[in-house]
């Protein structure tokens, strides 16, 4: 029996008449990278925001590390780190200031925050730019800082919402390595992306979501076998098979 670190049950969320998330349930095992795939507007970010206790679900339940996000939000928050899809950084502050600030916000003391900030900057290969202003960074560098901030406070679980969007293959590869490294150390990760090869490489299991609903969930290989020969079929084919070819908003 695998150790379920995160359990989401029947999540619903509407914004006026848009049903952004419409009955999504899944669980993520400790130490697993779980991929959440879906076209634009599928409800991935909305799901993550509910899991991260930023957004109150209309109905449904979330438990993280045994704590209900509804009844014990502070405890649940202390276990998670979030790398949001949109950069969440103070552009006018330096990289190190951003890391230290959010480190302190997650409960670290001054010394710990400084130490972790140094470690995470080195992890992202940005130790030389520690004092540089975020506003002066390239898109890829900002993305890496965005991820580094999520690691502050040694969370047990990460929510990574399209962490590699808009960056070059070099940066992307270095991010993959970081993530695999974290997984090897036992980190539980929820990962959303549009890049299928990324999901194939990293995720143990993936869920495909569209129109706020879960359509398929399994290991990449199992999903591929469902529609043909897993050696010839890519995850992209599976994705298109389930979500169709029409354009989304």
């Amino acid at each position: 029996m695998p150790d379920e670190f995160l359990i989401a049950k029947e999540l619903h969320k509407s914004f006026s008449e848009i049903k952004a998330v419409n009955g999504v349930s899944f669980s993520i095992n400790r130490g697993e990278i779980f991929g959440l795939l879906g076209p634009n507007g599928a409800g991935k970010t909305t799901t993550i925001r509910m899991l991260a206790t930023v957004l109150q679900p209309d109905s449904g339940e979330v438990t993280i590390g045994g704590y209900s996000t509804h009844q014990n939000a502070p405890k649940a928050r202390s276990l998670i780190g979030v790398c949001p899809q949109d950069l969440a950084l103070y552009e006018e502050l330096s990289a190190i200031d951003n890391l230290v600030f959010f480190g302190r916000m997650s409960g670290l003391d001054g010394k710990e925050a400084k130490e972790q900030a140094d470690i995470n900057l080195r992890l992202m290969g940005l130790e030389d730019r520690a004092k540089g202003k975020i506003a002066k960074f390239s898109g890829g560098m900002k993305r890496r800082i965005n991820l580094a901030v999520a690691l502050m406070g040694t969370p047990e679980m990460l929510f990574l919402d399209e962490p590699t969007v808009g960056i070059d293959p070099q940066s992307r590869n270095s991010i993959y390595e970081v993530i695999e490294n974290l997984r090897d150390k036992g980190m539980t990760i929820l990962y959303t992306t549009h890049y299928m090869e990324e999901a194939s490489r990293l995720c143990k299991r993936v869920a495909i979501i569209d129109g706020g609903q879960m359509i398929a969930m399994d290991t990449p290989t199992a999903l591929k076998s469902q529609i043909g020969d897993p050696d010839k079929i890519t995850l992209e084919d599976v994705f298109l098979h389930y979500t169709g070819r029409s354009l989304r908003d």
Partner: protein, 426 residues
């Protein structure tokens, strides 16, 4: 405890953002001083620094004696004998024109103003003297303060301030003299001699020279620095720009709501209360920084005078910052988008500034404007500063202004907290 450290670090971060933001620093710190420089020069006229102020006095007393004597003592007879280093005013006794003519001249703006001794002034003193000599304790002092009349062109602030100062001094001196006489009369075995000596001095105008009258006068007129418009120009801009900066800070919170940093804070272990408190403290600290710079530069560069109760000036400044920060927080919790917040912040700040007397002193505006101005917290702050720094008031006389500012702060703060509690981040 955790909340407190969070509050402190959020505030510190906001302060850092402010200090590293060169545009904001220019706009809220350097820019106001350009304004101040401009208005200060405009309001002081040309060469006001070296110019001695000329004041006019007259008496409506036909019977003569005392008020005539007094004026003779006060009058500047030889201008060349005035100490060039002190800026004591030239005092001219209007002998050739009567009260009505002088008043008409003020209305026609050919005369800037004058202090008039009332009709019956000398008779009053005579009565007073006789009462004392008769051994009756006078039950009342003749209150010259209310009887001396100051007629002045409302557009001429320098004159307004200086003439009021002169009237005050004369009144104070007369009161002091009465008190001395009264006590002498009570203490002496035979008061008659003592009293007669006093009135003899009064008749010859001797007392006015003996009493530290001239010095006294210089000190008081000097105290309120009638010639330094910076004493009301700087507080005005201080009020305008601390309020403006605070509201911009409020708009920044809205911006953070949009750029996800607020959301990121919420996913760490920060409580909503700590975010609210930290943001408030951040805006408050920025304001304190601003007023420190304002008062320091004001004193060093513009030679402003904080008056006899500098503590009151500081307290009003701090309350002004507190009120502005609360207002900013209210704005941030009421408005959804950054653009709207920016616009509303700018508009509110620019509208309330002239209404509340930041661009020109309220004491030169018509009564109805002064009345309407009271709806703005700015007017209370400005009135407080004017009382202290222009009219030389003491601490207790600005307590109402302090209370009003505190009430505004509490009102805005309450709305902000209530709104923040019910709002969730969408």
């Amino acid at each position: 405890m955790k909340n407190l450290t969070h509050i402190w670090f959020i505030a510190l971060k906001d302060l850092k953002l402010f200090v590293t933001d060169k545009t904001a620093m220019f706009f809220f710190v350097a820019f106001p001083f350009l304004f101040i420089l401009l208005f200060n020069t405009m309001m002081s006229g040309i060469g006001a620094e070296d110019e001695r102020i000329t004041l006019h006095v007259l008496t409506r007393d036909d019977s003569g004696t005392y008020s005539q004597m007094l004026l003779e003592a006060y009058e500047t007879t030889e201008e060349s004998k005035l100490d060039p280093d002190d800026h004591s005013p030239i005092i001219i006794w209007l002998k050739d024109i009567d009260y009505a003519t002088a008043k008409q001249q003020v209305e026609d703006k050919t005369l800037s103003g004058f202090v008039a001794f009332p009709k019956g002034f000398s008779a009053d003193i005579e009565t007073f003297k006789n009462e004392i000599l008769a051994g009756e304790k006078p039950l009342h002092f003749i209150n010259l303060d209310s009887q001396l009349e100051v007629i002045v062109d409302p557009d001429n602030t320098d004159q307004q301030i200086a003439l009021n100062g002169v009237a005050n001094i004369i009144a104070t001196q007369m009161n002091a003299m009465q008190a001395t006489m009264k006590s002498t009369a009570l203490l002496a075995d035979d008061p008659t001699d003592a009293i007669n000596t006093f009135f003899q001095q009064l008749n010859t105008g001797q007392w006015a020279k003996d009493l530290p009258s001239v010095n006294y006068q210089t000190t008081i007129v000097g105290d309120v620095e009638a010639g330094n418009p910076a004493n009301y120009v700087i507080p005005g801009y201080l009020v305008m720009f601390t309020f403006f900066a605070a509201l911009q800070g409020g708009a920044q919170i809205v911006q953070q709501r949009q750029n996800n940093t607020l959301e990121r804070m919420l996913t760490s272990s920060v409580s909503k209360e700590a975010i609210l408190g930290g943001t408030f403290l951040g805006i408050f600290l920025r304001g304190l920084l601003q007023i420190t710079i304002f008062w320091t530069l004001g004193s060093l560069v513009f030679n402003i005078d904080l008056g006899i109760a500098p503590a009151a000036v500081i307290i009003i400044s701090v309350l002004m910052v507190l009120m502005s920060s609360a207002c900013a927080l209210m704005l941030a919790t009421l408005i959804k988008t950054e653009r709207a917040a920016d616009g509303i912040a700018t508009l509110t700040a620019l509208l309330l500034a002239p209404l509340g007397g930041c661009w020109w002193p309220l004491f030169i505006t018509p009564k109805w404007m002064q009345f309407i101005a009271k709806i703005t917290p700015h007017a209370w702050a400005n009135n407080g500063f004017n009382k202290l720094m222009v009219f030389g008031a003491d601490f207790s006389s600005v307590v109402p202004e302090m209370i009003a500012l505190l009430c505004f702060a509490i009102g805005f703060g309450t709305i902000a907290v209530l709104r923040f509690r019910t709002s969730s981040i969408q």
